[in-house]
């Protein structure tokens, strides 16, 4: 789903109709200024057209072309096979082509799991479409399996009758053994339900790049490009974006660039000339609202949102972090933004990271830290200090599978209760969750806006799926983004001197900066006397302060939408979600509506405070279903808060929901078939996303 960038989520009713987009208008590429010069003379024309690049193939559909509204493809292979790169390239090309896209990278936690084993399989799923889409797709139309392990772990996601491309050169006895096959699945009847296409990718890559000057081992590493070329042919995609990428990436290694380009083209030619395929497919571009688009992942959008917030607030950003999967990319991105005067601090540990962020906030900067669940556990005490000292700081939690080290590269939504309650004392913190990769941009700006307006730490929740997944993003016009206004006092606020805990209408205390003459004051973690901020242990004062801090957070008014709504505000079933499940829940709700169910969805961007209108909305529905990638954390909160008999649809497999799972869950609930669904949940499933993967309880 494409997202409007300027704070409002492109959601049901939130944006103008998309039908204005002219489907026949030519697609032009507007590279950023930095790249404009490099590619000024390289205007390219897309798909099924004749290119003006004489070096590359003439792309004329050589076989009958079938038009499809949308397609889901997964590249799967060993971690060393370059599947993430192949997937990213396919995504970039499809995005530039004008499709709506949604991706799901899925890779092992170990950098080098034993080659060829099930644990070492790395996959990248892309859903590209000519219509609005919200998820990376439930079932695969095509699967590329580079070895037996990839075949075994991914086959279950392939639609029956789907295209299955395998690298038959990787199916020797030893490869089969590592994947636990006794007999080759290529030889028995087990793949009969699919359109099996056997391609000797190793041999063909070797032949294609034999004159590149590279050794056999290096040539072998180009086989992902061969596979990519073949898939490009199958879906009529242009080679130029990837050829250009190869050229730039290996500018200093022309032989490597040459071999990769040869492999890519060879894959493409192979599709054209081999008799393996009887037809080609095309997925026309999507009708998106007019404007400038780019592809963006959640971590990218988070980093960009932080830089934007610093510009909008006219404040230095100080981002302090300790490397941790899957949050480290935010640190990398911000470290490269030194020309925006961003300061990044790679701390010695998680505690130091938040300490430095709070220290920077005390000094008047926009302090932020980013981590994942285990890091939040370590930062808890310091978050409490920020609550007590009422200093602004943004804490990013890119959730992953837990507990403990858990599943570092897999997604989960199981930190909700931790971020809300995982601290000593009555310690309220606002919590904002991004609904999609691109929404991270607006949501993190919102987090800074609230942190500075209310003088409070704010927790920003992302997750592995949101962080690494990509979608098209309608780039916002910077001049239209709302400024973040911040005022620092320069004068004493009382006759008796400066009162650091005197509050404004939002119950926020003044953000007085060191360096301001006359406002010298001391803050700390001991209980504060109301108004003066002096250390105070009196019983009545303590209760008053506990209630004041709670009231301040409870009274927060969101700057952007507190929740996103799909469907009418009354009906039979309301699906309530939060975070990265937005796309799947929304798509499921639309499907339920098509099936005649009076279903609506409401997606919370604010987990604390909960949107005010939520209580009434819940009352308008007969049933409430809460799909979550945990065992029912939001459900527990809403049951407590609204005394509603909400049901949970819960999945903790490290994988996002499929649309189908949610539709089934809602139908099961409406038909009173709760236990039947539970029984269906597979237990020791090696398939990353196989329906039905969730339980209702």
């Amino acid at each position: 789903m494409p997202i409007i960038g300027n704070g409002a989520l492109a959601d049901c009713g939130a944006i103008p109709a998309k039908s204005k987009a002219d489907a026949t208008a030519g697609l032009t590429r507007s590279p950023s200024v930095s790249r404009k010069l490099q590619i000024a003379n390289r205007k390219w024309i897309y798909m099924s057209a004749i290119t003006n690049d004489l070096n590359s193939t003439v792309r004329r559909p050589s076989k009958p072309v079938t038009t499809l509204p949308s397609v889901t493809v997964r590249f799967a292979g060993d971690s060393g096979d370059g599947m993430q790169l192949a997937g990213t390239q396919f995504t970039d090309t499809s995005a530039l082509f004008g499709n709506d896209i949604s991706t799901l990278p899925d890779f092992p936690a170990e950098i080098r799991a034993p080659a060829g084993t099930l644990a070492g399989v790395s996959g990248f799923q892309i859903h590209f479409s000519s219509t609005d889409i919200y998820t990376p797709g439930d079932d695969l139309d095509a699967l590329v399996a580079m070895n037996p392990a990839a075949l075994k772990t991914n086959l279950r996601s392939l639609k029956s009758g789907g295209i299955l491309m395998v690298n038959e050169d990787a199916f020797a006895a030893a490869d089969l053994r590592k994947a636990g096959y006794d007999i080759s699945p290529l030889e028995d009847a087990s793949l009969g339900g699919y359109r099996l296409i056997r391609v000797p990718i190793n041999k063909l890559t070797a032949a294609a790049a034999k004159d590149s000057g590279l050794g056999a081992k290096d040539i072998d590493r180009c086989k992902n490009m061969f596979a990519l070329g073949l898939v490009y042919w199958l879906y009529g995609r242009p080679l130029e974006p990837t050829l250009q990428y190869i050229e730039q990436k290996f500018a200093k290694k022309p032989a490597v660039a040459g071999a990769n380009a040869l492999a890519l083209k060879a894959g493409y030619h192979f599709g054209e000339t081999a008799e393996l395929f009887s037809e080609q497919y095309q997925v026309p571009k999507a009708k998106l609202p007019p404007g400038n688009y780019r592809k963006i992942t959640g971590n990218e959008a988070t980093a960009l949102g932080m830089i934007a917030a610093s510009k909008l607030a006219d404040k230095q950003l100080v981002y302090c972090s300790y490397p941790i999967t899957p949050a480290s990319d935010i640190l990398h991105q911000l470290s490269a933004a030194k020309n925006f005067n961003v300061i990044t601090f790679q701390a010695e540990d998680e505690i130091a990271a938040i300490g430095a962020a709070i220290g920077a906030g005390f000094g008047g900067a926009l302090g932020a830290t980013g981590t994942s669940g285990p890091g939040i556990a370590l930062k808890s005490e310091a978050i409490g200090l920020a609550v007590m000292t009422e200093l602004p700081v943004v804490i990013v939690d890119v959730q992953r599978g837990g507990p403990s080290t858990g599943l570092p590269t897999k997604t989960e939504q199981s930190d909700l209760l931790q971020v809300l309650f995982g601290r000593n004392g009555e310690c309220p913190v606002p919590v904002i969750a991004a609904a999609s990769p691109a929404d991270c941009f607006a949501a993190v700006i919102e987090a800074f806006t609230i942190a500075t307006k209310y003088m409070t730490p704010v927790i920003f929740l992302s997750d592995g799926y949101v962080a690494n997944g990509a979608e098209p993003w309608l780039v916002p016009d910077v001049s239209k983004l709302a400024r973040i206004t911040i005022a620092h006092p320069t004068e004493k606020n009382s006759d008796k001197g400066f009162m650091p805990y005197q509050r404004d209408e939002n119950l926020a205390r003044p953000w007085a900066l060191p360096g301001t003459p006359g406002l010298e004051h001391r803050i700390g973690g001991l209980e504060k006397q109301d108004v003066t901020g002096n250390v105070n242990y009196e019983p009545a004062n303590h209760e008053h302060m506990v209630r004041l801090r709670a009231a301040k957070v409870a009274g927060i008014q969101p700057a952007g939408p507190g929740m996103l709504h799909t469907g009418p505000d009354q009906g039979d079933v309301l699906l309530i979600g939060w975070g990265g499940t937005h796309g799947a829940i929304k798509a499921a709700t639309l499907e339920l509506q098509q099936q005649g169910v009076r279903a609506s969805a409401c997606h919370l961007r604010y987990l604390n405070p909960l949107p005010r209108e939520l209580g009434q909305l819940i009352k308008n529905f007969k049933h409430v279903l809460i799909p979550e990638l945990n065992l029912g954390q939001l459900r527990m909160l809403l049951r407590d808060r609204y005394l509603v008999d909400a049901k949970g649809l819960n999945k903790v497999k490290g994988q996002p929901f499929t649309i189908h799972e949610i539709v089934e869950g809602a139908q099961a609930l409406l038909h009173g078939n709760v236990s039947a669904y539970e029984v269906n949940a597979p237990t020791n499933d090696v398939v990353p996303a196989g329906p039905p993967g969730a339980t209702i309880d």
């Binding site: 987009a21 002219d22 208008a25 697609l27 032009t28 590429r29 507007s30 590279p31 950023s32 930095s34 790249r35 530039l96 004008g98 609202p289 007019p290 404007g291 400038n292 688009y293 780019r294 830089i307 510009k311 100080v318 933004a337 030194k338 020309n339 925006f340 005067n341 300061i343 601090f345 010695e348 540990d349 505690i351 130091a352 938040i354 300490g355 430095a356 962020a357 709070i358 220290g359 920077a360 005390f362 000094g363 200090l385 780039v475 910077v478 060191p514 360096g515 301001t516 003459p517 006359g518 406002l519 010298e520 004051h521 001391r522 803050i523 700390g524 973690g525 001991l526 002096n534 250390v535």
Partner: protein
Amino acid sequence: MSLPPTQPLTVLKPADFASDQEVRWCPGCGDYAILAQMKKVCAKLGMDRSKTVFVSGIGCSSRFPYYMNTYGFHSIHGRAPTFATGLKLARPDLNVWMVTGDGDALSIGGNHFMHLVRRNVDIKVLLFNNRIYGLTKGQYSPTSEHGKKTKSTPMGAPEYPIRPISIAIGAEASFAARAIDVDMKHLEYVLERAAAHKGTAFVEIYQNCNIFNDGAYDYAVDKSTRSDNVVYLEHGKPLIFGKENSKGIRLHALTPEVVDTKIVSADDLLIHDEKAPEPSLAFLLSRMRYPDFPEPLGVFRAVDHEAYGDTVRQQNRDAIAGQGEGDLQSLLNGEETWSVS
């Protein structure tokens, strides 16, 4: 043209650096003397109250910021270096001091302490070493002697102490010094030296906890014994101590030894060099410990290293000079955009 009104130059006195908060250390605690000296140095050096920040962790010593009429941040146990680092990164214009104790800096905060020193963040660190946990009422600390009997070690501490200056030097300290709470003049000198240092200036201050570890430093304070038990370090001067300067320290291979200055000439004694690029000598001095050796007081090491924040800010300036100031719109556009009309 009229002359601008002349502003009387306000000269602050030590008392001007006192906050309105009642000081709540135990009567007789060594912390009082350190507080008094600090205020004196602040006044003497003409520090700007509004630009000075005291950051602390948790412990008796960490109450220090509440008593200074400057900006202050009393943070959480062991983590003061992290808040101070973030503050100094955001605000290089501020004069940041950190007050900590032996438990705060070397036990719960050992990791942060090491990295603060290693980075050479431009912060002055005062470690009040009383070799005991005072605030929690008398457990042994990482600097308590082996065998020390405390509430949590009724049969004696089974651990060996660490030496704060050894730790600081091991962590590449650019400045390390030691003083004693009651030796006012010398403490003042050391604080002034710390204030003048660019980078992390680490000062260990022997501090008497008269409630839980009274007399821990009697050997170094008592008039009758002190001259035999401490040696004052002076750059470029031989290490001489004892009544009537009767003793000196000589280096025998890599080991220091106490010699009689009537027999060994001053030229053969160990000459202190606080600017030595290699920290080996400073480290060796940090190992000298009562009762085998006099304990050195003064500046062990003071070398020039670029401070952390300066490097960080220079990188930003270089990036801006090289790439031009970042333009948000083109950053958001990214490398590749496509337009839909």
